[in-house]
């Protein structure tokens, strides 16, 4: 351990501002990196989807209808199907909307 430092008000304030700035700069740079990585992944995901969509456009477009009452597939992570059903029912009740008008993408237990 180094010897103890006593700071004057000026250098104390300067250190505090510098420290806060370092945290901001560090996390801003990290944010930039994550945004770039995220964009690369989103673009990669979009590319095969477009490829699939292209031949479909050439063929006579059949009207695609969602079956009435279908809520689509719900991905469950660490969640019991019974709990998931209960959660969906509660959300529908709280929003005052019929369950078949809502779309649940995934349900995950927050630990």
């Amino acid at each position: 351990m180094t010897s103890r430092l006593t700071l004057g008000i000026g250098s104390n304030l300067l250190d505090a501002i510098l420290g806060y700035a370092v945290v901001f700069i560090g996390l801003t740079l990290l944010m930039t990196v994550i945004v770039i990585v995220g964009k690369i992944f989103t673009a990669k995901k979009a590319a095969p989807a477009e490829e699939k969509a292209a031949p479909a456009a050439a063929a006579p477009a059949a009207p695609k209808k969602l079956a009435p009452g279908s809520a689509g597939d719900v991905k469950l992570y660490d969640t019991d199907p019974r709990d998931a059903a209960m959660i969906m029912a509660i959300v529908a009740n709280k929003l005052d909307k019929p369950l078949n008008e809502l779309r649940f993408r995934s349900i995950k237990e927050v630990k």
Partner: protein
């Protein structure tokens, strides 16, 4: 026989309360330990650590009153005198773990894990294994809120200096505002070990009190309209992104600030174990067995540093007050940047998620969720608040790394 009886009485702890000059302080600390036990057990204030800290405090103070007639070290679990020699530059036992191992009691030996910075890092492995960074990856702007909520750290650092603490002590007090127990313990152990007891107690107490400290500040700084904002659903994050995240953060942040390596490295290692999908057994151990064992050792050994002669000082009261200020200003910092993001996004971001940037996972995010739902019952802010919440863990580790590199 009377002589033996007399020796037994004079060597007893009860006699020590009166014959030992610091006996009354030990008695007060025993009472404080009982209050902490009550808070941990009955009020459930961070019970996993609080109960251990309280028992450590109790054992250290019960042991400290023993007086040996021959001047040898009493047969106690914790010996403050050994650690004083360990920190004394002039002592032949300066930084001698061997001396501690040879003469120490159980808690002295367990305390080596705190002193060497092992327990906080191991806890960070467990935290990493339990954390889902998905909400942060899908909304990277959360990192700005995690940075903003470190305001209290530097505000309290400035305030502590003005109150007469030296730079190392001020840095250790300031880090309470990071609302992250292991980070506060690691920083204090490295910079101002003499303040470890009060800082650990203040940090964990205020973390437990977040549901009481934050809501009044949140309501004071935001309007009903702002609190009612519903945020759009987060994008789905792929498994590969989740695996890459800890690797990118480790390389990027540690290269930026090498002193963050112990905390960030361990946090991201734990998270990588969780996300790879091929190390499930290790992830399970990190989340459960390892975390529980280290929490047990950390609590009892940190509590043991709360010996009466060191704890009952004016400095402890100052630390408790500064800790509260640090927490409050960290919340304010997060909320103000949250409000700025609300304005810049045209009202799409609920400023309440800013207060979750103080770390204290997941308590602070739950408080944001609850306050948001009070303003708008159909509001679900929890996952949005988890982004700044886990960003706060990284932010407080960077703040600690900065303070250690400046004053360590």
């Amino acid at each position: 026989m009377l002589e033996s009886l007399g020796k037994l009485v004079t060597e007893s702890g009860f006699a020590g309360f009166f014959s030992n000059p610091d006996g009354w302080r030990n008695l007060v600390m025993i009472a404080i330990a009982c209050v902490l036990l009550y808070l941990g057990i009955k009020k459930q204030y961070e019970p996993l650590l609080m109960v251990g800290i309280a028992v450590g405090c109790l054992l250290a103070n019960v042991s400290s009153v023993f007086m040996t007639t021959d001047g040898s070290l009493p047969d106690a679990l914790y010996h403050q005198s050994l650690w004083d020699a360990f920190l004394d530059h002039t002592s032949p036992y300066y930084h001698s773990y061997g001396h501690i191992m040879a003469n120490g009691g159980l808690i002295d030996i367990l305390y080596i894990g705190v002193k060497a910075g092992i327990y906080p890092c191991m806890i960070f492995i467990g935290i990493g294994a339990m954390t889902d960074f998905g909400p942060l990856i899908s909304n990277p702007k959360s990192l700005l809120l995690g940075a903003a909520a470190q305001f209290g750290v530097f505000f309290a650092f400035f305030g502590a200096n003005l109150l007469g603490f030296d730079a190392q002590q001020s840095a250790s007090i300031g880090i309470i505002g990071g609302a992250d127990g292991p980070t506060a313990i690691l920083t204090t152990t490295k910079l101002a070990p003499e303040l470890l007891g009060p800082i650990a107690v203040a940090a964990y107490s205020y973390m437990a009190l977040i549901p009481m400290i934050q809501p009044p500040i949140m309501r004071a700084l935001t309007t009903e309209k702002e609190r009612a904002v519903k945020m759009t659903q987060l994008r789905e994050v792929s498994k590969t992104e989740k695996i890459l995240f800890p690797i990118i953060v480790t390389i990027f942040i540690v290269l930026l600030l090498p002193s963050t390596a112990p905390l960030i490295g361990c946090l991201m290692f734990g998270n990588l174990l969780k996300e790879t999908g091929v190390t499930e057994r290790l992830s399970d151990v990190a989340q459960n067995a390892l975390m529980n064992i280290v929490t047990l050792f950390l609590g009892i050994s940190v509590g043991a540093t709360m010996v009466g002669s060191r704890f009952l000082t004016l400095d402890t009261i100052k630390i408790v007050v500064l800790g509260l200020i640090a927490f409050a200003f960290s919340t304010i910092g997060g909320l103000l940047v949250g409000k700025l993001m609300y304005k810049l996004s045209g009202g799409k971001i609920n400023p309440l998620i800013g207060s979750a940037g103080v770390s204290a996972v997941p308590m602070a995010a739950r408080v944001s969720q609850r306050e948001g739902q009070k303003a708008n019952p159909s509001n679900f802010l929890l996952m949005h608040a988890m982004g700044p919440n886990v960003a706060g863990v990284i932010g407080s580790a960077i703040a600690a790394g900065f303070l250690i590199s400046m004053f360590g």
